[in-house]
C-alpha cells in the first residue's frame, strides 16, 4: 500500500516536472535571444565607451584561448589598424552575501587602463554599490599588471589597500577580478 502510494506520488511529481520543464523551455526560447542581445549591447557600449576609435568587430576571442580561468566569462581584443592593442577581460567574482560582481578589466601594454562594472547582484544597496563609484574604480588605472599578479597578491598583504570602507567584501570582489585578469593576461604573454 505504502509502495503503491510512493509510486503514485512519484509519477505525479514526474508529470508535473515534465509540464513545468516544457513551459520553462518555451519561455526560455522566447526570452534568451532578447537577454543575450541586451547583454551584448551592454558590453559593446562599454567597449565603445572605453575607446570608440578601436575596432571592436568580432572582438570576442574567448573560444581561441586555452585553459581560461573559470571565472573569466569573456575575453575581447580591441584592434587599431588591424593590430591588437587592448585586451578586455570580463570576470565574475563574489561580493557581499555571495552576490556576483561582473567587471571588465582593460589591459593595454601590461597596464590596467580601466576597470568597469557590468553588473552587481544582491549587493547591499547604498553600501556594496559603492564599488560602482568611478573614483574608486579609478585607483586601478595606470597600474602595472604585475602588481596584481596572483603570486604577488599572495605575498603582499593586499587587505590594507584598495578596499572601500563599508563595502569591504564587495570591493574585494573587484580586486579578485583584477588579480584574475592580470594573472591570465601575464600567463598568456
Amino acid at each position: 500500500m505504502v509502495k503503491q502510494k510512493a509510486i503514485k506520488y512519484g509519477i505525479f511529481l514526474c508529470v508535473l516536472g515534465i509540464i513545468v520543464g516544457v513551459l520553462l523551455s518555451v519561455v526560455n526560447a522566447i526570452t534568451k535571444p532578447v537577454i543575450d542581445n541586451y547583454e551584448k549591447e551592454k558590453v559593446n557600449n562599454l567597449l565603445l565607451d572605453y575607446n570608440d576609435t578601436y575596432d571592436w568587430n568580432d572582438s570576442d576571442i574567448t573560444d581561441s584561448i586555452e585553459n581560461l580561468h573559470p571565472q573569466i566569462l569573456n575575453v575581447y581584443a580591441g584592434k587599431l589598424n588591424g593590430e591588437e592593442v587592448v585586451r578586455v577581460y570580463k570576470v565574475q567574482t563574489t561580493g557581499y552575501s555571495s552576490g556576483a560582481i561582473v567587471s571588465m578589466i582593460y589591459i593595454e601594454n601590461n597596464k590596467i587602463m580601466k576597470v568597469s562594472i557590468v553588473s552587481t547582484t544582491s549587493q547591499t544597496k547604498g553600501v556594496g554599490s559603492k564599488v560602482e563609484d568611478l573614483s574608486y574604480l579609478k585607483i586601478y588605472e595606470g597600474k602595472s599588471c604585475s602588481e596584481y599578479n596572483n603570486d604577488v597578491a599572495q605575498n603582499h598583504n593586499n587587505k590594507s589597500v584598495d578596499v572601500i570602507s563599508g563595502a569591504t567584501v564587495s570591493s574585494r570582489g573587484v580586486i579578485s577580478a583584477v588579480i584574475i585578469a592580470c594573472t591570465e593576461h601575464l600567463s598568456g604573454e
Binding site: F12, V27, T120
Partner: protein, 247 residues
C-alpha cells in the same frame, strides 16, 4: 457558486482587513529591502501579483487531484515555475528593473504570502474566489510597498521617479539643484526602512485600536440603552399593575 458580494469581500479583505504586510506581517524581507525607490516597489508589486495570481489559479484548478501528502512540494514547484517565468520576462523586457530588484525576484519563491495563499485559500476554494483573493492581496501588498518606497525616496533624496522619469523634485520647488539638507540618505539605508515601516505599523495599530475602542463604546452604549429600555418597560408594567390594583 460564489456570488458577487462574496467575491467582492475576497478582494477587499486583502486591501486592509487582512493586508499581508500590515496585518499578517508576512513578506517583510523584500518589503524592507526593495523599497528604496517607488519604481522598485511597483516593479516588485507587478512581479508579485503575476506570481500570486497564476499560482492561485493553478493551485485552485488542480486542488482536487493533488494528493494532500505532497501538496507543499507541488505548490513550491508551481510557484517556482511562475517566478522563473517572471524573472526571464523581466530580464528580457525590463532589464534595468530586473537589475535593480536583483535577487529579490527569485526570492518570491519563498515569499510566505504566496505559499500562504496557496495553502490557506486557493487549495480550498474555486478559481474565481482564488483570483479575487490573489488580486486583493497583490493590490494590498503593492499599495503598502509603494507607500513605504514613496516616503523613503522623498525623505531620502527629495525626489520621486517612476519608469525613469522624474515626477516630483522637492529640491527644485525650493529653487535648489542639490539635495536639500532636510533630506537624509539615512532613509534609503536599511535602518531607514525599519524606521518607516515601524512608524506605519504604529499609525495602523493606533487607528485599529481607536476603531476597536469606538466599537466597544458603541456596543456598551447600545447595551446600556437596551437595559434602560427594559427597565423602563418593567417600570411601566409595574405602574400599570399598581393602577389596576388601585382601581
Amino acid at each position: 457558486m460564489a456570488n458577487k458580494t462574496s467575491l467582492k469581500t475576497e478582494f477587499t479583505k486583502g486591501l486592509f482587513k487582512e493586508n499581508p504586510i500590515l496585518v499578517t506581517m508576512l513578506g517583510l524581507c523584500p518589503t524592507l529591502a526593495i523599497t528604496v525607490s517607488l519604481e522598485n516597489a511597483l516593479g516588485m508589486g507587478i512581479a508579485f501579483a503575476f506570481v500570486l495570481l497564476m499560482s492561485n489559479i493553478v493551485v485552485s484548478l488542480i486542488r482536487k487531484i493533488v494528493p494532500s501528502e505532497i501538496r507543499i512540494p507541488v505548490y513550491i514547484v508551481i510557484i517556482a515555475t511562475f517566478v522563473s517565468i517572471v524573472e526571464m520576462l523581466m530580464a528580457a523586457y525590463l532589464p534595468s528593473l530586473s537589475d535593480s530588484l536583483g535577487v529579490f525576484i527569485p526570492l518570491i519563491v519563498v515569499n510566505c504570502i504566496v505559499l500562504g495563499r496557496a495553502e490557506a485559500f486557493a487549495s480550498k476554494n474555486g478559481v474565481l474566489p482564488s483570483i479575487m483573493d490573489a488580486l486583493g492581496m497583490a493590490v494590498g501588498y503593492t499599495m503598502i510597498l509603494a507607500l513605504i518606497a514613496s516616503i523613503r525616496e522623498i525623505l531620502g533624496s527629495g525626489t520621486l521617479t517612476i519608469w525613469g522619469s522624474l515626477v516630483l523634485d522637492i529640491n527644485k520647488l525650493f529653487g535648489s539643484n542639490e539635495t536639500l539638507p532636510i533630506f537624509s540618505s539615512f532613509f534609503i539605508s536599511p535602518a531607514g526602512a525599519y524606521l518607516v515601516l515601524g512608524i506605519i505599523f504604529g499609525v495602523v495599530a493606533t487607528i485599529r485600536i481607536s476603531k476597536e475602542r469606538k466599537q466597544k463604546m458603541l456596543e456598551k452604549k447600545a447595551e446600556e440603552e437596551k437595559k434602560a429600555k427594559l427597565l423602563q418597560e418593567k417600570n411601566n408594567q409595574q405602574l400599570n399593575l399598581n393602577k389596576g390594583a388601585g382601581e
